[in-house]
C-alpha cells in the first residue's frame, strides 16, 4: 500500500485509510468532484477548464467521453455532448487530452459502455473492454464510471480495471434495492456515486428529499462501505453542496451546472480564459460548501446522521457564497441560496 496521506483524517470519515486512485480525492476533507464533457467545445478549452476547476478546489474530475446515445443525460449534458462530438472529439483524442492535463487531482473517465467495448476492437471476434482500459491507464486516467453499466454486467470491466489498477465507480439510485446496493458495494472502488434523485442529469434548484434518504440508508452500510460516497444529480450551488455533505456524504459531484457555464460561454462567444475563470470561482463555491457542510454534519450529528442538514449555518461558508454568486455577473445561475425550503 502506497501513498498513505493523512490517515487520521481519512479514518474519521470512514474512508479508505490509504488514499490512492480516485479515493485520494476524499482523503483530506469533503470532496468536490466536477464533471465536464471532454471536447466541449474543444479539447484545448477542456484542458484549461479542468485545470481551472482543480485550482478552484476540485479534488477529482469526472471527464465525460461523449457518446452518441447518452441515455442517462438530461438536456444540458446532451447538448454538451453534441458540441463535443461536432468538435471532433473521439476516444483517442480524449486520451491525448487527458495526457495534456496537468493536475494532481485524479481523473475518472465517464462514458457509455459501447465506446469502452469498441475501442481498439478488431473486426474478428467479439469486442473486449481491455484495450480501452489499457489505453486509459496509459493516459493517466485513474477511474471509470459507466452510467449504462449496472453491476450485473460489470464483471468484465471490473476485471480489466483490476488488471490495470483503475477504479470502477458505480452509481446507486434512490430506487436501488438493498440487494443491489450490496452487489455494488462488493464491486465498487474509488467512490460510490449516489444519485440524488430519479431521472437524468441536470441542475435543479432543490436537492431531493431522497438524497437524505439514500444517505441515511448508506449509513447502515457504513462499516462495510470501504469507499467514500459522493452525491450527484441536480447539485447547482454551494448551498446544495453544503447540505449534501451535512447529510453525511463524503463529497459532492457537480455536472450540469458547470456544463451550463461552458454552454453560455459558447453562446456568448466568451474567451476560454473568461469561462475558465468563472469555473474556477464556481469550483471554489462548491468546495467551500462541501467543506462547510461536512463541518455542520459533524457538529450537528457526530455519527454523520445529519440528514436534514444542520440548521445553524456557518456564516462564513456555503450559503453566503452561494448568494454572493447569485449577485454576480451571471444572474441566470439558479443558485438555490435561501430560497428553497428543501432539506
Amino acid at each position: 500500500m502506497t501513498a498513505v496521506t493523512d490517515a487520521g483524517a481519512a479514518g474519521d470519515e470512514g474512508v479508505a485509510e490509504t488514499a490512492r486512485g480516485m479515493a485520494r480525492a476524499f482523503a483530506e476533507d469533503a470532496a468536490f468532484v466536477p464533471y465536464l464533457v471532454a471536447g466541449d467545445p474543444s479539447a484545448e478549452a477542456t484542458v484549461e477548464y479542468v485545470e481551472a476547476l482543480v485550482e478552484g478546489g476540485a479534488d477529482a474530475v469526472e471527464l465525460g467521453l461523449p457518446f452518441s446515445e447518452p441515455i442517462a443525460e438530461g438536456a444540458t449534458i446532451q447538448e454538451g455532448i453534441v458540441r463535443a462530438l461536432e468538435g471532433g472529439m473521439t476516444p483517442e483524442r480524449y486520451f491525448e487530452l487527458v495526457e495534456r492535463i496537468d493536475v494532481d487531482a485524479p481523473i475518472a473517465a465517464m462514458t457509455y459502455y459501447n465506446l469502452i467495448l469498441q475501442h481498439g476492437s478488431r473486426s474478428e471476434g467479439p469486442p473486449s473492454v481491455e484495450p480501452f482500459v489499457a489505453r486509459a491507464a496509459e493516459a493517466g486516467v485513474e477511474g471509470v464510471i459507466v452510467p449504462d453499466l449496472p453491476v450485473d454486467e460489470a464483471d468484465p470491466l471490473r476485471a480489466a480495471c483490476d488488471e490495470y489498477g483503475l477504479d470502477l465507480v458505480f452509481i446507486v439510485a434512490p430506487t436501488t434495492t438493498d440487494e443491489r446496493l450490496a452487489a455494488a458495494l462488493e464491486r465498487v472502488s474509488g467512490y460510490l456515486y449516489v444519485q440524488a434523485r430519479l431521472g437524468t442529469t441536470g441542475a435543479r434548484e432543490e436537492t431531493s428529499d431522497r438524497t437524505a434518504e439514500s444517505l441515511a440508508r448508506l449509513e447502515d452500510h457504513d462499516r462495510e462501505l470501504g469507499v467514500p460516497t459522493a452525491v450527484g444529480f441536480g447539485v447547482s450551488a454551494g448551498e446544495h453542496a453544503r447540505r449534501v455533505t451535512a447529510a453525511g456524504a463524503d463529497g459532492v459531484i457537480v455536472g450540469s451546472a458547470l456544463v451550463d457555464v461552458v454552454a453560455e460561454g459558447v453562446e456568448r462567444g466568451r474567451p476560454t480564459a473568461a469561462v475558465a475563470d468563472e469555473l474556477r470561482e464556481y469550483a471554489a463555491e462548491f468546495k467551500r460548501g462541501a467543506v462547510a457542510g461536512a463541518g455542520d454534519g459533524k457538529a450537528g450529528a457526530p455519527d454523520g446522521n445529519g440528514e436534514t442538514g444542520a440548521p445553524d449555518r456557518d456564516g462564513e461558508t456555503g450559503a453566503p457564497d452561494g448568494d454572493a454568486r447569485q449577485d454576480g455577473p451571471e444572474p441566470r445561475l439558479r443558485t438555490g441560496g435561501g430560497t428553497d425550503g428543501g432539506p
Binding site: 457518446f67 452518441s68 446515445e69 447518452p70 441515455i71 442517462a72 443525460e73 438530461g74 446532451q78 453534441v82 462530438l85 473521439t90 476516444p91 483517442e92 457509455y112 459502455y113 459501447n114 465506446l115 469502452i116 467495448l117 469498441q118 475501442h119 473486426s123 467479439p126 469486442p127 452510467p147 449504462d148 453499466l149 449496472p150 453491476v151 450485473d152 454486467e153 458505480f170 452509481i171 446507486v172 439510485a173 434512490p174 430506487t175 436501488t176 434495492t177 443491489r180 455494488a184 444519485q195 430519479l198 431521472g199 437524468t200
Partner: protein, 443 residues
C-alpha cells in the same frame, strides 16, 4: 442454460437467461434496474405462468378488440407470377393496421396487472405509437408517446390517430429526430418516472426481459400461421420459407418463433436503403441493415448488432420506411443470424417501392413500406425459396401513401401508377414526373 437445450423456448419460472448467446443483457442505468427486475418478475408470473388468468385475458382482448386470428391468405396472382405457392399472413388486418397491437396490448395489460398508472412509449413509423394509444384507450390508462420530429412530419396520419385516441405525443428534436432518438428520450423519461410508469417498448429490443416479453406477445403470429397452414391440408406440413421484414424485428420474431423447431427457412429482410456502405466521416449509414452490415455493440440496453463507426458512435440509419429506420436490431435476431437459423438479407429503397406498387396492383393489398421489403426480396429470389412461402404482411400501407407518392415521384419507379391527376390540381408532387403505370408487367 446448457447449450444443448433451447433456453429461449423454456416455459416456467426458473431463472431466465438475460442473453441470447452473446447478445442481449441489461445495459441500462442503475435507476432503471429495480423496475426491470420488477418487470421480469411480472413477465414470469403473468406471461409465463399465466397467473390471475392473464394470458386468457390477453387472448380474449386480442380476439374481441384486435380481431384475431388474422387470415392466412393464398396470394393467387403472386403465386402464378412466381410459380410458387405464396401465402400472406394478414397482420395488416389486425386492429390498427399492423402487428404492433399484439405487443402494445400485451404490455399495456401487463402494466395494468402490475398496478402502473401511466404508459410511455416511443414510436418510429407511428405504428407502435398508435397501437399503444389504442391499447391504453381501450384499457383506460394514461399514455404518452415520444416521436422524433422527422417522423412526426412524415407520419402525420398516425400522429392524428394517437391524438384522437387521447394520447399525448411528445416530439423529440435531438439528432435526426427518428426512432433512435425517440427510444433514448423515452428511456430518460422512464428513468425519472419509473415507479408509477411502464415503458411499452415497441420492438424486441432493449434490456432483458423486453426482447423476450415482446417476442412472446408477437409469437401469436407464427403460432396462428403454423396452425392455419396445417389446416389447409396441403402436401407439406410446413411452408418451405417464412419471410418477414426486419427493423427492430418484432414482426420478424413474431412470425419466426413458432417455426424455429421446424424445417423451415427463415428470412429476415432488412432495409438496404440506398446503399449498404457506411459513411463514417458523415456518421451516416444510408441503410438500416444492422444484421447484414452492423457489428457487435451495445445500444439501448442490449448487446446486439449495431450500425456504428470504428469508435463505437452509433450512426444515423436510413430507410424509405420509417419503421425499419433503426441502427440496432433485437438481440435474439442477432443471435439467430449468427447461429445460421435465420438468414439476414436486404433490399434497397427502390426495390421496396416497386414491391409496394406490385402488391397493391396485383393482390389488392396496400402494404406498409416495411412489409414491401419482404415482397421485394420475394420478387428477386422467389426461385430460391422453395415451393411454399409465407410472407408476413406486417402492416397496411395507408400511413405511407404520402411518402410513397413523394418517393415514387423522385425516382424512376417503373411500375408506379400514373399520378398526373395530382399535377393538374395543386402540384402536390413537387414537380416530379411520373412514369406510366406498367401494371404488373414491369420487369
Amino acid at each position: 442454460m446448457s447449450t444443448g437445450r433451447d433456453p429461449e423456448t423454456t416455459r416456467g419460472s426458473g431463472d431466465l437467461d438475460p442473453r441470447f448467446g452473446r447478445y442481449g443483457g441489461q445495459y441500462v442505468p442503475e435507476a432503471l434496474m429495480p423496475a426491470i427486475e420488477e418487470l421480469e418478475d411480472a413477465y414470469r408470473r403473468y406471461v409465463l405462468d399465466d397467473e390471475d388468468g392473464f394470458m386468457d385475458d390477453f387472448r380474449a382482448r386480442l380476439r374481441d378488440f384486435g380481431g384475431r386470428p388474422t387470415p392466412l391468405q393464398r396470394a393467387d396472382r403472386l403465386s402464378e407470377r412466381y410459380d410458387t405457392e405464396v401465402y400472406l399472413k394478414r397482420e395488416d388486418l389486425l386492429h390498427g393496421g399492423a402487428h404492433k397491437l399484439n405487443n402494445a396490448l400485451g404490455q399495456a395489460l401487463l402494466a395494468q396487472y402490475m398496478g402502473k398508472e401511466r404508459i410511455i412509449a416511443e414510436t418510429g413509423a407511428g405504428q407502435h405509437g398508435t397501437a399503444t394509444a389504442m391499447a391504453c384507450s381501450h384499457l383506460g390508462i394514461d399514455c404518452e408517446v415520444y416521436m422524433g420530429r422527422t417522423d412526426i412530419n412524415r407520419q402525420r396520419p398516425n400522429v392524428f390517430r394517437m391524438l384522437a385516441n387521447g394520447a399525448e405525443v411528445k416530439p423529440v428534436d435531438v439528432g435526426r429526430g427518428t426512432l433512435k432518438e425517440a427510444i433514448s428520450q423515452t428511456m430518460r423519461d422512464w428513468a425519472e418516472t419509473v415507479e408509477d410508469t411502464h415503458y411499452v417498448i415497441g420492438s424486441i429490443v432493449g434490456p432483458h426481459p423486453f426482447p423476450r416479453l415482446v417476442r412472446d406477445f408477437q409469437a401469436i403470429i407464427g403460432e396462428e400461421t403454423r396452425r392455419q397452414f396445417r389446416d389447409r391440408e396441403r402436401v407439406g406440413d410446413s411452408p418451405d420459407a417464412v419471410l418477414a421484414c426486419a427493423g427492430g424485428g418484432s414482426n420478424t420474431m413474431g412470425a419466426f418463433h413458432a417455426f424455429r423447431p421446424d424445417d423451415v427457412d427463415l428470412y429476415a429482410v432488412e432495409a438496404g436503403g440506398s446503399t449498404l456502405a457506411v459513411d463514417e466521416a458523415a456518421g451516416v449509414a444510408p441503410n438500416s441493415a444492422s444484421l447484414s452490415t452492423g457489428s457487435e455493440g451495445v445500444l439501448h440496453g442490449a448487446r446486439t448488432r449495431v450500425l456504428q463507426d470504428g469508435d463505437g458512435q452509433v450512426v444515423e440509419s436510413h430507410s424509405v420506411s420509417a419503421g425499419l429506420d433503426y441502427a440496432g436490431v433485437g438481440p435474439e435476431l442477432a443471435h439467430l443470424v449468427e447461429t445460421g437459423r435465420v438468414r439476414a438479407v436486404s433490399v434497397d429503397d427502390d426495390a421496396a417501392l416497386e414491391a409496394f406498387h406490385r402488391l397493391s396492383q396485383t393482390e389488392g393489398v396496400i402494404p406498409a413500406l416495411e412489409t414491401a421489403h419482404a415482397f421485394a426480396y420475394l420478387e428477386r429470389h422467389h426461385d430460391e425459396l422453395g415451393e411454399e412461402v409465407v410472407i408476413n404482411v406486417s402492416g397496411r400501407g395507408d400511413k405511407d401513401l404520402e411518402t410513397v407518392l413523394e418517393e415514387t415521384a423522385a425516382r424512376d419507379v417503373e411500375n408506379a401508377p400514373d399520378m398526373s391527376v395530382f399535377e393538374a390540381t395543386d402540384g402536390v408532387m413537387g414537380g416530379g414526373h411520373l412514369k406510366d403505370a406498367g401494371g404488373d408487367g414491369s420487369d
